[in-house]
C-alpha cells in the first residue's frame, strides 16, 4: 500500500511508482517499464469503497487539488471542485489523480530518459491512446489496492478516459462522471488540434522532436498552439465580456505590431506561461490521443454497442457555451447510455464560459456535482450496512483490454 499524503492544510506531495513490465501500446509502440506520478487526497476507508479516480485533460497533470506551498501559485488544477467540504469532498472520499504516460510532470514521457539510449525519448516516444492511459491507471489501481472505484471522473479528454474505464473495466467502477466531453472529436476539433501541432512542428527550434539535446524548446510554436487552444476553450461572448475591443494602457492605436488590444496581450501571456511548464512533444501526443479516441469505431459507429459492456451509473454534464465539446456531443453519449438502459443523469449547464467552464465554480454545475457525490457517499454507507465488501467482487489484476 502506498503512503497517502494529505494533511489538514491540504499540502500535498507528488508520489511516483515504477512498473517494470513491458508495455505494448495500442499504436504497437513499446515501453520497457514506465513510471506514473500521482497524488492522493483524503483517506481510503477500511472497506476501500470511497476511492475516486480523477483523469486529467490535455494540459493537466496529477496535481488536481491541494497545494504544494503557501505561495498561492501552486493550487491543483481542479481545486475549486476538489477539497475538504468542496463538491468532491476529500473529507469523505479518497481522491487519486495520476499523470498520464506521455506526460511531462513525472510520468514516463518524451522528455524522460530512454534507458536504451540514455537520452530523452523525444520523438522515439511512441504514440499513446486513451486505452493505454486507462490500462496504466488500472495498474496504478492495483498498486494502490483499489479493486473498485466509487467513481472515475474526468472533464474533456479526462471525460474520455472515464468513459473508457466504464467500457474496459466495467466491474472496477460504480459511477462514471463525464464532464464537457465527447465520444469522439469532430473534423473541426481535429483541425484545431492539427493547427496546434503544425505550429510546434514547424518551429525551427523543434529539431524533429529532439530539441532537448540542443537545449532549446519550440517556444514560438508552443505559444501559438496555446493561443489557438485558449481561444477555442473560451466563448465569443466571454471574450467579448472580458476584453471587448479594449486597448492596453492607451486610448489610441500606435499603428504597430506590438500587442495593442487587451486580448492580444492576454493570449500572449497565456502562451508564454505555458512554454515554461509544458513539454512540446507531450502536447503533440496528447492532441493525437484526443483525435484517435472513438470507442464506436470498433462497433460500426454504433456508440450504444460500444457502451454495451458498461454497468456503471453515469453523470454527464455539458455547458451551453462550450463549442469545442458541445452539448450535442454529450447528448449523444447520454442517448447511448439510455439505449443501454443504464442509470444516467444529464445536466446541461447554461453559462458563458465556454469549454473551460468545467474547471470553474459555476453554481448550477457544482450543485449537481455535489449532489451526485453525496449520492455516491450515501451508497458507500449503505454498502457497509449490508456488509458488502467491494474487494470480494473482483479479482485485482488489470488485464490489457
Amino acid at each position: 500500500m502506498a503512503t497517502t499524503t494529505t494533511d489538514i492544510n491540504q499540502l500535498v506531495e507528488p508520489q511516483q511508482v515504477r512498473f517494470d513490465e513491458t508495455l505494448v501500446l495500442e499504436s504497437n509502440g513499446q515501453l520497457d517499464g514506465y513510471t506514473l506520478a500521482y497524488e492522493t487526497y483524503g483517506k481510503l476507508n477500511a472497506r476501500g469503497d470511497n476511492a475516486l479516480l480523477i483523469c486529467h485533460a490535455l494540459s493537466g497533470d496529477h496535481h488536481v487539488a491541494g497545494r504544494y506551498d503557501d505561495s498561492g501559485k501552486t493550487y491543483g488544477w481542479w481545486h475549486l471542485l476538489i477539497g475538504p467540504e468542496k463538491p468532491i469532498d476529500t473529507n469523505k472520499f479518497f481522491v487519486v489523480c495520476s499523470n498520464n504516460i506521455g506526460g511531462c510532470h513525472g510520468s514516463t514521457g518524451p522528455s524522460s530518459i530512454n534507458p536504451s539510449t540514455d537520452k530523452p525519448y523525444g520523438t522515439d516516444f511512441p504514440l499513446v491512446t486513451v486505452n493505454d492511459w486507462v490500462y496504466t491507471q488500472a495498474k496504478l489501481s492495483d498498486y494502490l489496492g483499489i479493486t473498485q472505484w466509487a467513481a472515475v471522473i474526468g472533464g474533456s479528454l479526462g471525460g474520455m478516459q472515464a468513459m473508457q474505464w466504464s467500457i474496459s473495466y466495467p466491474e472496477r467502477l460504480r459511477h462514471c462522471i463525464v464532464i464537457a466531453s465527447a465520444a469522439k472529436l469532430n473534423a473541426q476539433n481535429i483541425g484545431f488540434n492539427d493547427v496546434a501541432r503544425q505550429a510546434i512542428r514547424t518551429d525551427p527550434d523543434f529539431h524533429n522532436g529532439n530539441y532537448y539535446e540542443h537545449n532549446v524548446a519550440p517556444a514560438r510554436g508552443m505559444r501559438v498552439a496555446r493561443m489557438i487552444g485558449h481561444i477555442t476553450y473560451l466563448s465569443e461572448d466571454m471574450m467579448g465580456q472580458k476584453f471587448g475591443r479594449n486597448l492596453r494602457k492607451k486610448a489610441k492605436f500606435d499603428y504597430e505590431f506590438t500587442p495593442e488590444f487587451e486580448v492580444e496581450s492576454y493570449l500572449r501571456y497565456q502562451g508564454d506561461a505555458f512554454i515554461n511548464k509544458f513539454d512540446a512533444n507531450t502536447y503533440l501526443l496528447m492532441t493525437k490521443a484526443l483525435d484517435y479516441y472513438d470507442p464506436a469505431a470498433e462497433t460500426d459507429d454504433d456508440l450504444t454497442k460500444a457502451l454495451a459492456p458498461a454497468t456503471a451509473s453515469f453523470l454527464v454534464v455539458s455547458f451551453s457555451s462550450d463549442w469545442r465539446f458541445s452539448p450535442e456531443r454529450s447528448r449523444e453519449v447520454v442517448r447511448a447510455l439510455q439505449s443501454n438502459k443504464l442509470n444516467v443523469s444529464y445536466a446541461e449547464v447554461t453559462c458563458p464560459h465556454g469549454h473551460d467552464s468545467f474547471l470553474l465554480d459555476i453554481d448550477d454545475y457544482t450543485r449537481v456535482v455535489r449532489s451526485y457525490l453525496n449520492r455516491i457517499a450515501g451508497e458507500s454507507v449503505l454498502g457497509s450496512e449490508l456488509g458488502i465488501d467491494p474487494k470480494d467482487t473482483v479479482t485485482i489484476e488489470a488485464k490489457r483490454v
Binding site: L315, V344, Y346, R367
Partner: protein
C-alpha cells in the same frame, strides 16, 4: 412538483392515482419531473426504473438528491433522446398546458412508450367558467395564478377537449379521472367531472 401551477396539497393524491396505473418493475419516463418526487415515489412503491426529464436548473440537483435519473432538456424539442417502444409508461404530469406543440409531444409519448399518462388543470372547472361568464375576464385561481399575458400555461384545455384529441389521434383512453386539488371526493365530481374537476388525469394507449 411543477412550478407551472400552484398546487401544493395535490401531489400525494395524484401520485397515488398514477402509481395505481403503473405496472410494478416497469420502465417509466416522467416528463417535466420537477424535483423528481413522483418518480421517486414510483421507484419506492412500484420498483420502476427510468428517467425524469426536466429543464429547470434549480430542479436538477434536487432530482439527484431524490435519487432519480434526471435528463436536462427542453421537451419542446421532442423526445428524440429516447428510443421507440423503449418504455412501458410515459408520464406528463401538469406540464402539457405549457408545451408549444402538445400534439407532437403526445404522439411522441406513444412512440416511446406503450401507455401515456397525462395530468392537467381542467379549464372547464366551474370557477373558470364563472370568471369568464360573469366576470368577463380570463380566469385566475390558486392553481392558475398567472395573468393572461405572462402565463407559461399557453395551451389550456378541458377534460372533454382532451378526450376529443385522443380520439382524433387514434388513442384509446384507458382511464380518466377528475379530482379536486384538495383530494376531496364529491358527488358533483363523480357525475359531472368536466364541471367539478380541477385536475384531470388520463391514461391512454395506442388503439
Amino acid at each position: 412538483m411543477s412550478k407551472l401551477l400552484n398546487i401544493s396539497t395535490l401531489s400525494r393524491y395524484d401520485h397515488q392515482i398514477i402509481s395505481e396505473w403503473v405496472e410494478p418493475a416497469s420502465r417509466v419516463i416522467d416528463l417535466g419531473c420537477g424535483n423528481g418526487s413522483l418518480l421517486k415515489h414510483l421507484q419506492i412503491s412500484k420498483g420502476v426504473t427510468g428517467y425524469g426529464v426536466e429543464l429547470n436548473p434549480e430542479m436538477i440537483d434536487q432530482c439527484i438528491d431524490n435519487d432519480i435519473n434526471v435528463i436536462q432538456f427542453n421537451l419542446d424539442q421532442g423526445l428524440g433522446h429516447f428510443d421507440s417502444d423503449s418504455f412501458d409508461t410515459v408520464i406528463l404530469s401538469l406540464t402539457l398546458q405549457s408545451m408549444r406543440k402538445p400534439l407532437t409531444l403526445l404522439e411522441e409519448m406513444l412512440r416511446v412508450g406503450r401507455q401515456g399518462i397525462v395530468t392537467f388543470p381542467n379549464f372547464a372547472h366551474w370557477r373558470n367558467r364563472w370568471q369568464i361568464a360573469v366576470g368577463g375576464s380570463m380566469p385566475e385561481s390558486d392553481e392558475l395564478p398567472y395573468k393572461w399575458y405572462d402565463t407559461p400555461n399557453i395551451h389550456l384545455c378541458t377534460l372533454n377537449d382532451f378526450h376529443q384529441l385522443c380520439d382524433q389521434l387514434g388513442f384509446q383512453i384507458e382511464s380518466s379521472i377528475a379530482v379536486r386539488a384538495d383530494g376531496k371526493q364529491t358527488l358533483g365530481l363523480k357525475t359531472m367531472p368536466n364541471l367539478f374537476g380541477e385536475i384531470a388525469l388520463c391514461r391512454f394507449s395506442k388503439r
